[in-house]
Symmetry: C2
Subunit: 398 residues, 2 copies
């Protein structure tokens, strides 16, 4: 294994010299505002539709980097460029965020997907932190309050579930809210922050966690029990790994080592369970009983799953020093660097087949934008620095 | 190439001795009625949800075989078994068909999908033909009239498209109606039959057919022009091939050889375009401009695509004697028999990866039931018999 400082340098260099320049160069739509995200291997635009998830996530990425890393004017300009487009065209009359827009900003797909709102909240809260512009604070706060009112029935009229027959709870929203609450702490009442954190931890670690398998399921009965249905049997190992580093962040804030340990054990379970022993990489979806899942893409290897797994292992190592974290980190890093990273044309491929070959030669699309890769590189870099500082302190203390 | 009579025997034997016994043995739910369709490689039930598409399609298959092939009591009993379940639990108060039901018949997913209604219409119209029970005729006729009233906006409240921004027309419904109209001719006013046929042919062959590529697209602008969007660039070669044999059936009824020729040329285009030159088999989805499609399953090989392609080539050969039909038929047959057919455990696998390996070891699921395989074997067998008779007559005449 390379020493950790060389990984820190690699992640920093990859973020600053490859990934951020790729998006700064290729994504801004200078004519209509916002960002192109459907970019081919070389970064050329192959479709001009604008997906609100990805518009908001890119505003967040550049605002966050301005806030956390460096006051680079082109980063703030890039964030503002997307924010102006979203502010002008992103919402309906009720303040709910559309799912997608034309290049010009006309709505294509209605606000059926509450994660558009979650990512808009993140984006405008970070931008408020960057600019101190109260208007952005209001957008974030208004959107967050709409999310809370919609949380029980997020799809509203677009929900195809017949009421009452199978009232499953879905993991995605509590998981995302557990991250969002720390993102927007500076604009919320402290009591609401504490309440949301406590609720998030309990929902993720008690309701969705299944002691029998040591895993977290995508959908459970309202009381947290197992539902032996397609939805109830579904495991998304990448979701589990991403959620577990969200839990570690909450645990760090509360100084709760027991929660960190539990989150890390669940992460190891997800990696053991989700790792493809034949071809390497983490499966996208699995059925907990080993039945065929409905998702035809179940065996594919997705960039975000591996990016989030890397962050999870580094945070786990930083908090616990558990050697298993380094074992998995190295395995994940090698797979990712060899398969997802495009050393020739920059940035990462998003979708590999089970064998680890490129399935779609794109750098961005409907779901992949400027988010998981830069966030993971940033989080990885900074977490490695904290680990190195700690080791350095230990050496000095010794 | 084997002689055609041996293929006829193979298809007949496969239908009668393998496929129908597989479903008769494994699918009926003797306790709650209807059929299990989620069957593993051995035919064991792995999930008990009931999908209205597949319930109706199985009622249709056994009714059709009773009507067309042989008065086997167990076939009619099997059809009636599913029909009773559908009649009791399949519809909402307006008469629209739910998408899925629990094992006991409680609705899970609302009637958002008009193809549930299309297949229910087919099922009950065939069952009426089999039983002369006027109640079944009424269900079919009522459902068909609901389809016509819903055709302009089939998803109703569940449509997530923002009205007006991108008013694309979708190929699926006109395609299915072109087949449905012949299925239910015996319960419709003759004028409505002729009108629906003429409309179907014109929509498929004028509006959706694109002279520039010689292909049919899944979505077009209202005037039939190309929409350079993810939806507009999408080609589903299996859809094209299935639709082209529907067109040949309509052309046969009208004695329209020009339509048969045109449908057959489009079929060859779809095969040339859709065939995977590297691994064999027909791709599931392609982007007409060669961009990455949104469908992650784009490169997979699906059973129904290949079953429908076989039927298309045999019908084409029967009508035209074009040698290209035999070339493609043999190629498709060999791929299908080697890859999809499970010589060891019976019936066909549904989903292969690009390399032609089994992706999901199931015989039935949410979308695969007792329909495409038996219909293709029946259509293939009977079409081969017609070809052989014609050749026999030619030889005698000579």
């Amino acid at each position: 294994m390379k020493d950790l400082s060389s990984y820190a340098a690699l992640y920093a260099g990859s973020l600053m010299d490859d990934v951020l320049p790729f998006w700064l160069k290729n994504s801004p739509d200078k004519e209509y505002g916002g960002y192109f995200t459907c970019l081919d291997r070389e970064g050329r635009v192959f479709d001009t539709d604008k997906f609100v998830w990805l518009q908001a996530r890119q505003v967040w990425t550049f605002s966050m980097l301005w806030n956390q890393l460096e006051k680079k004017q082109e980063w703030l300009d890039c964030a503002l460029h997307g924010a102006r487009f979203l502010e002008k065209s992103g919402r309906d009359a009720k303040g709910d965020w559309y799912f997608s827009l034309t290049r010009e900003g006309k709505p294509i797909v209605q606000p059926y997907n509450i994660f558009s709102d979650c990512f808009a909240t993140m984006a405008f809260a970070q931008l408020y932190k960057a600019t101190n512009d109260k208007g952005y604070c209001d957008i974030a706060a208004d959107t967050f309050h709409r999310i809370l009112t919609r949380a029980e029935n997020p799809k509203g009229q677009y929900s195809k579930a017949f009421p009452g027959t199978r009232p499953l709870r879905s993991f995605s929203l509590p998981m995302i809210l557990s991250n969002l609450v720390l993102e927007i702490e500076h604009i919320l009442e402290p009591r609401l922050v504490e309440q949301t954190i406590a609720g998030g931890i309990s929902t993720v670690m008690d309701t969705f966690y299944q002691p029998a398998s040591g895993l977290i399921l995508e959908s459970v009965n309202p009381d947290g029990s197992f539902s032996d249905t397609f939805e109830g049997r579904l495991v998304n190992p990448g979701h589990v790994l991403e959620a577990m580093w969200f839990m570690m962040d909450l645990a760090e804030r509360r100084n709760d080592m027991a929660l960190i340990s539990k989150a890390l054990e669940i992460s190891f379970n997800a990696l053991e369970y989700g790792w493809d022993k034949e071809h390497g990489g983490i499966f996208y979806f699995l059925d907990i009983k080993g039945h065929p899942p409905q998702q035809l893409e179940w065996d594919q290897k997705l960039w975000w799953v591996h990016a989030e797994a890397i962050v999870c292992m580094l945070k786990g190592y930083r908090h616990t020093g558990d050697a298993r974290c380094l074992y998995w980190f190295e395995r994940l890093h090698d797979y990712t660097w060899e398969r997802f990273r495009d050393a020739e044309k920059g940035e990462w491929f998003g979708y590999l087949n089970r064998q680890g070959e490129v399935l779609l030669p794109l750098k961005g699309g409907k779901w992949k934008g400027c988010f998981h890769v830069p966030r993971a590189l940033y989080q990885g870099w900074k977490t490695l620095e904290l680990i190195l500082e700690k080791e350095d302190r230990s050496i000095k203390a010794y």
